[in-house]
């Protein structure tokens, strides 16, 4: 399980800022993620209209979530599958272990699944003598390095080529130690060969689900490598880990999300493999699993229904919000200290682990609004982060100095004349004091800002004064 370090966000972020390897990876990935999404969205004139439709479909589904989940579960069972309803992470771990034990499993292959990180299934299986093998290339190297993912779709984007080579040499000790990795392709080929044997030997395959479809009882995975398909096709038993908000009513509804997902995530028009799995191997089939289990996880999500945080349940985990977030792009994913980083994580993590532990996350935002503007299902992420800040304040979790500062400011803000007079005086003083350099390297009470950068000096005027002057000029 990802060890929770969200309470140490500030220290994590400081470490991330001085991590040269991470900063190199961020500098490489940021322009790519953003440009690819922009190009893909621009290539589909209907993209913006589809975002509205997608939001409405999810809202409709969430308003009838109990109905659609029961309908979905009935269809799974009609196709020979079993649904395991799990209220907590512990229930889900127990269900997976029970299925693996009944199958006599020794090794389990895994497709990429954030839910599996959320419930910490790998550690649980290992503790009970079952070996889990991650098969997504990025997840595979993280398993070798015993690191959590730093991004929900590019889990190992923070690693550089030399890290890959080093980890492969250290872990694949059966291979000649002096072998050459001339190209990235050689790294990939080594992983392909090794993992192919794992696919063939596994007793159970575990995948996540991007969507569940009530109409047909199908689970849908979207991948580029094909690892998820090998995971769910070759072993005798397929386990799907899915959370309750993944359900959509029909295939037509799913099409709307599929048109948005890859474009928002990787900037592809469509991912290479979009696969719909429905129940067990049919009598006449020549391949496919003999058992099909869906571990349906709640883990706190049902408590979000009917609250302002219900909007967060629309999330389809595309990662566009983190790819466009100035905070994430500065500190990477590990600093957030749990499974879900970036803006979506800053909203979701406090709901799942508690705001008293994850209160730093919704505060680590510049409120630039870019996340909301690229979200394919239009989640008002900044608004939801603000809700967390308010709750934190109400529950007296905000540090005393911040509370004092906010009180002090609020006292002034309720007295407009005094506020304007005081800010005018302050701006004039600061403008005069900083007139030579145009910026301050240090300033009393502003250490948090000036420790990492200069504070630009005001030009001597307040916004209100300038606004009043312009209105006067317009009237003239």
């Amino acid at each position: 399980m990802v060890h929770l370090t969200s309470p140490a966000f500030k220290a994590n972020a400081a470490r991330a800022l001085s991590d040269a390897g991470l900063q190199k990876a961020l500098a490489r990935s940021k322009p790519q993620f953003q440009a690819k999404r922009a190009k893909a969205a621009a290539g589909l004139p209907e993209f913006e209209a589809l975002r509205d439709i997608a939001r409405d479909i999810k809202n409709h589904t969430l308003a009838h979530l109990d109905f659609y989940l029961e309908d979905y579960a009935a269809k799974v069972e009609a196709a020979g599958g079993t649904v395991h309803w799990c209220a907590t992470a512990e229930d889900a771990r127990a269900a997976v272990l029970r299925i693996c034990r009944a199958a006599g499993a020794r090794t389990v292959t895994k497709g990429k699944s954030m839910i599996s990180e959320e419930i910490g299934i790998n550690e649980h299986l290992e503790a009970h003598g079952i070996t889990p093998v991650e098969t997504d290339l990025g997840e595979y190297i993280l398993q070798l390095r015993r690191e959590p993912p730093s991004h929900i779709i590019g889990p190992a984007f923070h690693l550089n080529r030399e890290d890959w080579e080093k980890s492969f040499r250290e872990s694949h000790t059966d291979l000649p130690p002096d072998r050459e990795f001339r190209e990235r392709r050689d790294i990939l080929a080594e992983a392909r060969t090794l993992l192919r044997q794992k696919f063939l030997a596994a007793d159970v395959g575990i995948t996540g689900a991007n969507f569940l479809i009530a109409e047909t009882g199908s689970s849908v995975i979207v991948t580029n490598e094909g690892n998820g398909d090998l995971t769910q096709t070759l072993p005798r038993v397929h386990i799907v880990l899915a959370s309750i908000e993944k359900v959509v009513p029909t295939l037509e509804d799913a099409c709307v999300f599929l048109r948005l997902l890859a474009r928002s995530a990787t900037g592809q028009d469509f991912s290479v493999y979009t696969t719909f799995s429905t129940g067990i191997r049919r009598e006449t089939d020549l391949d496919g699993p003999h058992e099909y289990h869906v571990v349906l996880l709640d883990n706190g999500r049902s408590n979000m229904v009917g609250t302002p945080f219900q909007d967060m349940l629309r999330c389809i985990r595309c990662a566009a919000c983190m790819n466009h977030c100035p905070v994430y792009q500065s500190v990477g994913g590990h600093a957030y200290g749990w499974v879900y980083p970036g803006p979506m994580g800053s909203v979701l993590t406090p709901t799942l682990v508690g705001v008293e532990k994850a209160g730093h996350l919704p505060n680590a935002s510049t409120f630039c609004g870019k996340c909301e503007s690229v979200c394919p299902v239009k989640i008002p992420l900044p608004k939801l982060m603000r809700h967390w800040r308010e709750r934190e304040f109400e529950r007296h979790l905000t540090p005393a100095t911040t509370r004092f500062g906010l009180r002090f400011w609020a006292w002034f803000a309720r007295r407009p004349t005094l506020y304007r007079w005081a800010t005018r005086a302050a701006m004039a003083t600061l403008g005069w004091a900083g007139r030579k350099r145009g910026a301050f390297a240090a300033l009393p009470l502003a250490g948090g800002w000036t420790a990492g950068r200069d504070l630009p000096a005001p030009e001597g005027d307040t916004f209100m004064a300038r606004y009043a002057r312009q209105r006067r000029e317009v009237r003239r």
């Binding site: 589909l44 004139p45 209907e46 589809l50 439709i53 479909i57 009838h64 109990d66 109905f67 989940l69 309908d71 196709a79 020979g80 309803w85 229930d91 290339l137 590019g154 190992a156 984007f157 080529r161 990235r184 392709r185 990939l188 392909r192 192919r196 009530a214 047909t216 580029n224 490598e225 094909g226 690892n227 398909d229 090998l230 096709t233 070759l234 309750i244 009513p249 029909t250 295939l251 099409c255 990787t266 028009d269 469509f270 290479v272 493999y273 979009t274 696969t275 719909f276 799995s277 429905t278 067990i280 049919r282 006449t284 089939d285 020549l286 496919g288 709640d298 049902s302 229904v305 609250t307």
Partner: protein, 233 residues
């Protein structure tokens, strides 16, 4: 019981009990009608252009396409393709009647086994149920005559697709499946597995740089049989 706990927590949030029967019936009606939403205009084209869009999109996603005048040209095209790729003339083919009916005897040097794929198979010949022009996507519903492993294990996947089976949008492909497929277990149309495949397998996990052939096929070659006069270029 987790099931009841989850459902009642959801209902508590929604401030209601189980859905009244009339509302549940309405939602069942929506599922039965499965209304379409906005379908992108890009695939709403005359037949010939739709097929051309499909071909363009397959190639954009690093697949290759050979257009053949009729099914009898398929074995020859396969022999030629394998020779060009320096691959031995052996393949595992889907046990599909369309594939069994091809004139294999004209190419006795081609070794063809009709079965599911196994480790060690280098080349597969798969049967496409439909092609989707919108993104150059192939639809493979699982069936005895269309085993899923053919899409996954070999490094080279060759796909037989008839031009008359190319549609514009995903929704049209689902409607073909609804109309033509019956599942023995559920009585519905959905088979155990439906793969929508767009190009060969790939990964960009190493430094965001695209490499083909991650875990699935490294090459995806479509043999497009021109059985639709209105679709010819």
């Amino acid at each position: 019981m987790s099931r009841e706990a989850i459902l009642s927590a959801i209902r508590r949030g929604l401030r209601r009990g189980p859905l009244p029967p009339d509302q549940a019936a309405m939602l069942r009606g929506r599922i039965a009608a499965h209304p379409r939403h906005l379908i992108p205009a890009r695939s709403r084209l005359p037949r010939a252009e739709q097929v051309a869009l499909f071909v363009r999109n397959v190639e954009k996603e690093f697949g290759t396409v050979a257009r053949l005048p009729d099914p009898s040209a398929v074995p020859g095209a396969i022999a030629e393709y394998l020779a060009r790729q320096n691959l031995p003339p052996a393949l595992v083919a889907a046990p599909h009647p369309d594939i069994a009916a091809l004139p294999w005897a004209d190419h006795p040097l081609l070794q063809v086994e009709h079965r599911a794929a196994r480790e060690g198979d280098a080349v597969s010949l798969q049967h496409a149920f439909a092609g989707i022009a919108e993104t150059g996507t192939l639809m493979f519903p699982s069936a005895r005559e269309r085993p899923t492993t053919l899409n996954l294990l070999p490094e080279t996947e060759i796909v037989l697709l008839r031009a008359s089976r190319i549609v514009g949008a995903y929704e049209e492909a689902w409607d073909l499946l609804r109309a033509e497929n019956r599942d023995g277990r559920t009585g519905g149309f959905m088979p155990r597995n439906v793969m929508l495949v767009t190009g060969p397998s790939r990964s960009a996990d190493i430094e965001q740089t695209l490499e083909l052939g991650a875990h699935g096929p490294r090459r995806l070659h479509v043999l497009l049989v021109e059985d639709d006069p209105s679709a010819r270029a």
